[in-house]
Subunit: 237 residues, 6 copies
């Protein structure tokens, strides 16, 4: 359930019988023809749907992440790495200080990976109580990744793989056909201007859209996989 | 219009004829019986409604702000001041780099005031193009403040003044009567535990709810005041 | 009494029977025709005079603050916000570590307001002993502000309101008449070059000087108001 | 060739005809029965052997990385993430300032992955000349990974996979047999004390040693793979 | 001349014909029986007297420096090294931005030595105009040091060497005789509590006071030495 | 003994009977005709030879230090002061956390002096156990300095004084004669370009090489002096 649909009294009551919480982290950045909020929308939504039947509160998504390479596409925002890691640290500190002991970070953006390093550092710090952190990039978790590969190999940024009813925009038509996939090695060395030039529309390649059935399969797989993690993903008890 | 309801192409087209953008900043923190998201919800909503007829894009609200004094109320989050200022700086830098030249920060939380200092610093830095920043705490702007005082003097944190249909929670009943108002001097020196102890339910005093008509008046005043600022609030042309 | 008029043995003796201390913070920046040190001079002097009969030690004023918007006026200095907040934090930490439990920050410069955010953060941190911080901008405190308004409405930066015998300079003549007041909205969005251009001499408007009787009234009001705060301004006992 | 085997005149001469340089980054941390320097030794050595025939200078390895989870094993060092990223940034800045335009970072430690985020950020910053960065974790690159899997699946930290003549220690005998492999999910959530308790000797599982022929195969594969990257791994020309 | 005895117009006029400025940096810390402000008082005063006949403006002394080892003596303040270096950097940046091209830092405290490292870094940064920085610890400069050694060898912290009419306190009597000198090696490794225990009164040894003639000799030597530096100490023209 | 020649079990065994450790810190920077690694090579080697008979572990040298003024000589690397101090802090923190109680920092580069300030700060922080830090710049310690002066007065950067069999490069011939010594005052104010222009080859003056007997004398003196420090240099027991 959304933390914003609770007041503090409800959270206090919750903490009497559970100690889990979900922090979705996303990004606001170009996704080809899709919403600039794609990563934030998906991370928050998958977290909420996964947590709903478990009654676990879900923080509002952190809508800004690490996307320095997309700044040549207007509307893309980015934080410096140091800022981003500080945000994650501060949120973990506050949550741990209030009695949350199992925190799931549901990530929607590949560029946010350095957060995982921060999590390792944070977990290693001396702490009175054990606080476990599960970090998952929902779209790259084993079951979702397998499902995606089964529909069209090598799903990329801004492709069909992110084209859900809640990330596509009214009145925006998708191009037909499969766009050639951009080499990951090239992307890794590219400046914002390079990526703009090389991708044209921002998508990294593949089909722009698959059927609603396919997307529903991906989505249900993702929700279930995150939910299982929230249930059974804690290493220590 | 929500930036998340646009793709980058739409933003690029927008920048051909306008250079304004809105960044709402809020907080996730106790608001007595109201939603933990009150400040974020109100800042984002007032920004969106104000910007709508003007066609100005509104970033997703920054849902975390400066609320260290509320950490004894579970579900309240806070960033360190340094982190928070870094976030605001990074967003301003990115927006300015993409051609936005008039940025309105619509603030929903009193504790976020140090952002104004950062804005002054940012504006004073050498920059190729002039980038103007309007910073408004919508609930404290002259017309809203006057309207509120007209309904019940000295509106406080967690009181009727923040009790809108979109910040109250289903099934949560408000206490009757007017709570005595907590001294601002005491609050300024209080630790989180003090504030918990002194306020009990988190509200700083006054009525917990006024009529829908009153709230609608406040709201329409706020939307109009922000809209006027987005239209005429820029000092330099 | 000035801390610099004490040795450590005297401070140790003082701490046997009292735990208060005053930290004045100022700025070195243009004040129209007045001393570049105006804000520092006034904050330190009002603190010393207020503390004198109470026997409370007063630290040397922090002569540098946040004045990025004045850098186009030579002789104006500024710290970055992050630096300034770090200085305040370090001083609070040191004082608290030595047994001071009630610290009054007497501020002489409006731009230093983010220090108040830092103070809130600092007070909210876990600490073995309660350490109270009173933060006052002496020139904006209720009684001084009322007194000033009574003499000439809307007193501004670099105007008569800062023109004391100890901030005016020998041989510098003040312009006659009342300068039109600069809009605060414009100032808030102005670059250093704008402020230089818009103000000419740096003053934000109003008379340049009022009578010595007026200034003495302001001053005595300020000293008394700070002294009362040092005496009765502590929220917790 | 080692940069430390050159003087500045030799580097200046080199820059007349080439603009590549290698920065190996490692870690000093427990590796079961192997040298505490394993990651640094391997990263530096593979870089030197790969670069030798190409005449590319190789910086001294950064011997300290991100290993907060190993601090319960004495002799393991770690930097904070922020420190580590600052070091990488400073080295990149200095190299770029001297005319190096193609920088290969050869990483020897999985925990150093956040450096990749910093590299993405650095590459995206405005810069007068294009500076390309290739980042490779040599032990996880496709050909080495495939070779390793061919010898014994799922090679882990502190296992045979890191047991080279130059990382094993004289007089230290390796245990026989295959240690059960520790779950990666558990490791990701483990504190330093957990990892000490769960691993006993620090190895994450598998055989402790394979034959010299196997190790030579791995090594030659790694050297060749890095060399190919130094030769053909640059995306832009 | 004190910058605080000038307004911005005077500084602007000065910059038409000169580009020098003095920044005194001190410390507020125990000095045995002497003023807690000794280092700040001396640095500021020697700077002002040296600069007076040259007409060079002198900033207000930075009264807080690096004195973490003295915190067990109440009334001693300290900044973190990072904070202190940031302050120095910010002041240099502001001064250079206003046209000062020759900046003398007159240091009054041995513990502030890391500022010299910051100065080297600052000078090495790319800059449109050459800005020279002379850094002198006035009490350790060759002529003062020689004069002091001639009066009593090995002058130390808190001894006669810092006992000037303007650092001694009314009514405070100095002990007779020579205190044995504390080993510098021991001091370097000592905690605040150690230094308190080892020194008793805070002085590091030697006589507590010498004659006024001696002190006047030291002082005049210091003033002259700083003045010569302000005149002839600039390496580049 | 090199820490890299140990595994964690060996360090744990060592800590049963001793608590000393050595951290050599160097620099990678121009040294005239000598190796770019001169400072790192010498600091690490003198530490290892000094520690060998005492059985004290020696960390790998930190090969990067503070050399912003040498960046005009290709192959010179530098860290920002803040980064460098953070690295030293992190290493001290990790070592102290593992039971090391006496840490010797053997420094090979004059520019690294701000590390001493950080060490003073670190030692002054509250800590459960006493951790002593001895900081020595081996080449400037009393006995080495005296020995050097006996061979040729005023030994400088990049001169014979750093020309050891392990810092000179094969095939690089040294100039004959004594180069005039560069004024230290000039160096202190020089930009990287100045130093390049003023020194030509990077050496600060004096002979480029003395006899092997001389160098062996210097070296043995240095090794013995560091060894004595590791043995008897601890102020508290």
């Amino acid at each position: 359930m959304r933390l914003h649909d609770m007041n503090w009294q409800a959270v206090e009551a919750y903490l009497q019988h559970d100690d889990r919480v979900v922090l979705p982290i996303g990004s606001t950045e170009q996704h080809g023809y899709l919403s600039l909020g794609t990563d934030a929308i998906l991370a928050e939504r998958v977290a909420i749907e996964a947590a709903e039947p478990l009654g676990i509160p879900v923080l509002p998504v952190l809508p800004f992440g690490l996307a320095p390479y997309f700044t040549a596409f207007p509307g893309s925002l980015t934080l410096r790495t140091s800022t981003f890691l500080d945000v994650v640290r501060d949120l973990l500190d506050t949550l741990a200080g209030q009695g949350f002991r199992r925190i799931a970070i549901v990530n929607g953006h590949g560029g946010n990976a350095p957060a995982l390093g921060l999590v390792r550092e944070w977990v290693a710090e001396p702490r009175e109580h054990r606080v476990q952190i599960v970090f998952t990039s929902w779209y790259a978790a084993p079951r979702v990744a397998a499902a995606a590969e089964g529909h069209e190999p090598d799903p990329t940024h801004g492709s069909w793989f992110e084209n859900f009813p809640w990330t596509r925009l009214p009145g925006v038509e998708m191009p037909e056909g499969r766009k050639p996939t951009l080499s990951r090695e090239v992307v890794a060395q590219a400046t914002p201007a390079d990526i703009r030039r090389l991708t044209g529309d921002g998508s990294f390649g593949g089909s722009y859209a698959l059927s609603d059935e396919v997307m529903d399969d991906i989505w249900q797989t993702g929700v279930a996989e995150v939910r299982d993690l929230l249930t059974d993903g804690w290493a220590f008890t």
